[in-house]
C-alpha cells in the first residue's frame, strides 16, 4: 500500500473558444464518474463554441447575423442568450452592447454564461466542490481538494505573472475584464472608441454570465463605471484604474 500521492478529484485544461478552459473537481468520486463529468463539461463548451463563435462562419450567431437563420429557428440557448444581451443593453444604459464592434458579438456574456451553466450542471450531478475557469472567468463552489474555500487570484493588469488581489469563497462567480490584452479592447459603444479610464474590472456575484457582462460594462463606461458598480445590488467589485490605483468594495470577499 502506498500513501495517496495525489489529491482527490480531477483537473483538466483544454483549449476551446479561443481560450484555455480549466476544470477542477475536488469531490472524491470514482475516476470514471469524474472523467464522465469532465467530458460533459468540455463537450458543452465545444457545443457553445460551435453555436456562438463569431469566428466560425457556420455558427448560429454568424448565420443569424447574415440573416440566414431566423431567431425563431435558432436553438433555445441562442435565443436565451440574445434575449439576455438585449436586457443587459437596457439595464446598462446601452453600455453593454453586443453590437459594439459593429457585428453581433455576444461573447461579453457567453463565456461566463457557458461556465456558469457547466458549474450548475456539475452541482446538479453531485459534484458540489468544483471550480470552472473559462478564460479567466471563474465559477467556484464548495471547497478545494485541500478542504479550504477556493482561492482565486485576480491577475495584475500590468503583469501577467502576478496577481493584485486574492479572493476566497465557497460560492463565487468572479469575472475580470481588462484592456491589457492585445486584441481585447473594450469599446465605449457611445463614443465608438476604445474605452479609457479603467484598466481592469473584477466583478463578484452569484451568476458568472452577469458578472462577466457587468465587468465589461464598467470598463466600457470608464471612470463612471466605478460609481455604477457601487450601485449594483448583490455584486462586489475591484477596479484598477489607468493610473494604477486599486479601488474595491468594502465587502469584497478578499482572502484572509
Amino acid at each position: 500500500m502506498t500513501a495517496p500521492l495525489t489529491r482527490p478529484g480531477l483537473r483538466r485544461v483544454e483549449h476551446i473558444m479561443g481560450t484555455a478552459i480549466s476544470l477542477d473537481v475536488a469531490d472524491d468520486l470514482p475516476d470514471a464518474t469524474l472523467r464522465a463529468l469532465a467530458d460533459d463539461v468540455f463537450d458543452w463548451m465545444r457545443e457553445v463554441d460551435a453555436r456562438f463563435s463569431t469566428y466560425r462562419e457556420d455558427s448560429e450567431v454568424r448565420r443569424f447575423e447574415r440573416g440566414e437563420l431566423l431567431l425563431s429557428e435558432a436553438s433555445e440557448d441562442v435565443r436565451a442568450v440574445l434575449a439576455t444581451c438585449a436586457d443587459l443593453w437596457g439595464a446598462t444604459d446601452g453600455f453593454f452592447d453586443a453590437y459594439a464592434t459593429g457585428g453581433l458579438d455576444p461573447s461579453g456574456y457567453v463565456k461566463g454564461w457557458a461556465a456558469q451553466v457547466a458549474s450548475d450542471r456539475l452541482l446538479a450531478a453531485g459534484a458540489v466542490n468544483h471550480c470552472v475557469n473559462a478564460g479567466g472567468d471563474v465559477r467556484a463552489r464548495g471547497h478545494s481538494a485541500f478542504g479550504r474555500p477556493w482561492r482565486i487570484g485576480v491577475r495584475h493588469p500590468w503583469d501577467a505573472n502576478a496577481t493584485c488581489l486574492v479572493l476566497a469563497g465557497t460560492d463565487l462567480a468572479v469575472a475580470t475584464s481588462g484592456v491589457y490584452e492585445r486584441g481585447h479592447h473594450v469599446r465605449d459603444p457611445r463614443r465608438g472608441a476604445p474605452a479609457q479610464g479603467l484598466r481592469s474590472v473584477t466583478v463578484v456575484g452569484p451568476d458568472l454570465g452577469l458578472a462577466d457582462a457587468y465587468a465589461t460594462t464598467a470598463v466600457a463606461m470608464g471612470r463612471a463605471g466605478v460609481t455604477w458598480l457601487d450601485r449594483l445590488p448583490g455584486h462586489t467589485h475591484a477596479v484598477v484604474t489607468d493610473n494604477a490605483r486599486l479601488l474595491r468594495s468594502p465587502t469584497l470577499p478578499v482572502a484572509p
Binding site: 486584441g183 473584477t202 486599486l246
Partner: protein, 193 residues
C-alpha cells in the same frame, strides 16, 4: 430636509466604497502609483521572466515562506519542490499530507508578430494543475511605461506588496492569453509532460 440627509448619506456611502488603497503597507493588495523617485529595488527582480524557473504558481498546500517571491529569484517557494522532486517516487511511503509531486513542464518559445510567447504547465502527478505564461510580448510605448511604473512600485522598498502567483492559489481570474502562439506553446508543453 430628510431628503437632503439621505442624499448626503448616500454620497458618503458611495465615497467610502471607493477605497483608495494608497500606500498602505501590509494590506498586500494595492497597485499603487509610485511616488516620484522611488528607489528601484533590484534590477533583476524587475526583469521579465525568462527560462524555465520563472514564476511560481504552485497551488500546493505548502505556505509561501517569503511574502515577496520575485520572479527573478529562482523558484520562489524554494525549499519545497526542489528538496523533494529528485527523490525517486517508488514504493517509499510518504506522509499523506504532502502532495509534493508537483512538477513543471515548459513549452517552447513561440514567436509571433508581437514577440514571444512561452507557456508553462504545472503538474501534480500527471494532472495539469495550472497553465501559466512565462513570456508575453511587451506592449507598445504606453503599456510599457505603465508597466515600469507599477513594477517600480512593488519591487521598491516602499513596503508595497503585490501578491505573486506563489500565493497559493487555486485559479486566476483575468483574461487568458488567447493567441495562437499561446495555444501552440501550451500544447507542446502538454506533449512534453
Amino acid at each position: 430636509m430628510r431628503r437632503a440627509f439621505l442624499a448626503i448619506t448616500g454620497l458618503a456611502a458611495s465615497t467610502t466604497a471607493l477605497v483608495v488603497l494608497k500606500g498602505s503597507p501590509g494590506t498586500s493588495q494595492a497597485a499603487q502609483e509610485p511616488p516620484a523617485g522611488t528607489p528601484v529595488g533590484s534590477e533583476a527582480a524587475g526583469a521579465p521572466p525568462s527560462g524555465t524557473d520563472a514564476p511560481a504558481a504552485a497551488p500546493t498546500a505548502a505556505a509561501t515562506s517569503s511574502p515577496w517571491p520575485t520572479r527573478g529569484a529562482t523558484r520562489s517557494p524554494a525549499a519545497r519542490p526542489t528538496s523533494r522532486a529528485p527523490a525517486p517516487r517508488t514504493t517509499t511511503a510518504r506522509p499523506p499530507q504532502q502532495p509534493t509531486t508537483t512538477r513543471r513542464v515548459t513549452g517552447p518559445i513561440v514567436e509571433n508578430e508581437y514577440g514571444n510567447v512561452q507557456v508553462q504547465i504545472v503538474l501534480n502527478g500527471d494532472r495539469i494543475v495550472e497553465a501559466l505564461t512565462l513570456e508575453l510580448p511587451s506592449g507598445p510605448g504606453e503599456t510599457e511605461r505603465h508597466s515600469d511604473d507599477v513594477r517600480r512600485a512593488y519591487n521598491g522598498t516602499s513596503g508595497e506588496v503585490v501578491r505573486r502567483q506563489g500565493a497559493d492559489l487555486d485559479t486566476v481570474s483575468g483574461a487568458t492569453e488567447t493567441s495562437d502562439s499561446y495555444r501552440r506553446s501550451l500544447r507542446a508543453a502538454i506533449e512534453r509532460a
